[in-house]
């Protein structure tokens, strides 16, 4: 069975609540990136992923499918940086973001995002596109209008080419 090799590039475990976390000066020497977030937010008002400080929402689009445990949902946007609808004010959230071919300069950047909140909100899968051919060198993860809880952890991995 093949094994992908993850290299830990950077991490941030919050000692106190924070509005956002930024990974900067990301090397272009890996194939893909993976971000693992465990923890939660102070209130459920949404979270943004901003790439290379590009806050122009029109440059981001996404489509999602969600299972709440009782119903299915689907949605999309052509101008929004949101990464999840289900991250909650609790410590039991797990979000895994995969960003493919992040250092390419000849394509838009696509990411797959899995959000997990086994109780009460459910599970979500999301595809998010950043309409830019720039290599990704920084990633900001923002709790919109609120804060990430103290103890929330952010790990950035590079998948070796």
């Amino acid at each position: 069975m093949p094994t992908s090799t993850y290299d830990l590039i950077a991490s941030n475990v919050l000692g106190s609540s924070a509005a956002s976390v930024t990974f900067s000066s990301i090397s272009g020497s890996y194939r893909d990136l993976v971000i693992v977030i465990t923890g939660g937010v102070t209130s459920r008002t949404g979270q943004y992923m901003t790439l290379n400080s590009d806050t122009t929402d029109a440059n981001y689009s996404w489509v999602r499918a969600t299972g709440t445990g009782a119903a299915t949902q689907s949605g999309s946007s052509t101008a929004d940086r949101s990464i999840s609808e289900i991250i909650e004010n609790a410590a039991n959230n797990l979000v895994i973001i995969q960003i493919m071919d992040y250092s390419a300069t000849n394509k838009h950047k696509s990411s797959l995002i899995r959000s997990n909140n086994a109780s009460p909100n459910g599970v979500e899968m999301r595809a998010l596109r950043w309409a830019s051919t720039n290599a990704i060198t920084s990633i900001n993860l923002e709790a919109v209008g609120t804060t990430w809880l103290s103890g929330t952890s952010f790990y950035l991995y590079g998948i070796v080419s």
Binding site: T3, A65, G67, T72, L94, I96, R114, V123, Y157
Partner: protein, 164 residues
Amino acid sequence: MTKVSEVTVGSGGAASIEFTNIPQTGKDLLILVSAREVDTHSSDFGVYFGINSNIGGNTRALLGTGSAASSANNSSFLWSYSGNPGSGVTLNTFGNISAYIANYANSGTKSMSIDAVGENNATAAEQAIVAAQPTNTAAITSLAVWTNNLNFVQHSTASLYIVS
């Protein structure tokens, strides 16, 4: 990511595959399962996960069959919903399950992200994405997958990886 161990079920089958004495040196765990069970049901089932020998937990799932989508929840068991076909499906087809467990070496609430897909060489095969939260909050030193009923068949496999 480092492989800790890999188990292949032998000719007699096995009701479970268990990893014990998991090193406490990593941050997260990834378990990959290729499974099929002896049970005669004609569709796809899931597997139970045992965290420190405890299968209790909450799950919420999004399911797709190829023609319909649905959602389900379970407040009793850590359950993959899919990825483990029975002997009633096409011979030699196995399901696949990937489960990621964060912060396994710490005590406290843990979350799991599970992908599971069955196989039947047919127009429909169930797939599931699952959010799971184990009841057991101790640091994870053992991890098991149990079949839905009876045994996993020969050649079923499970591999455990540590993400550091």
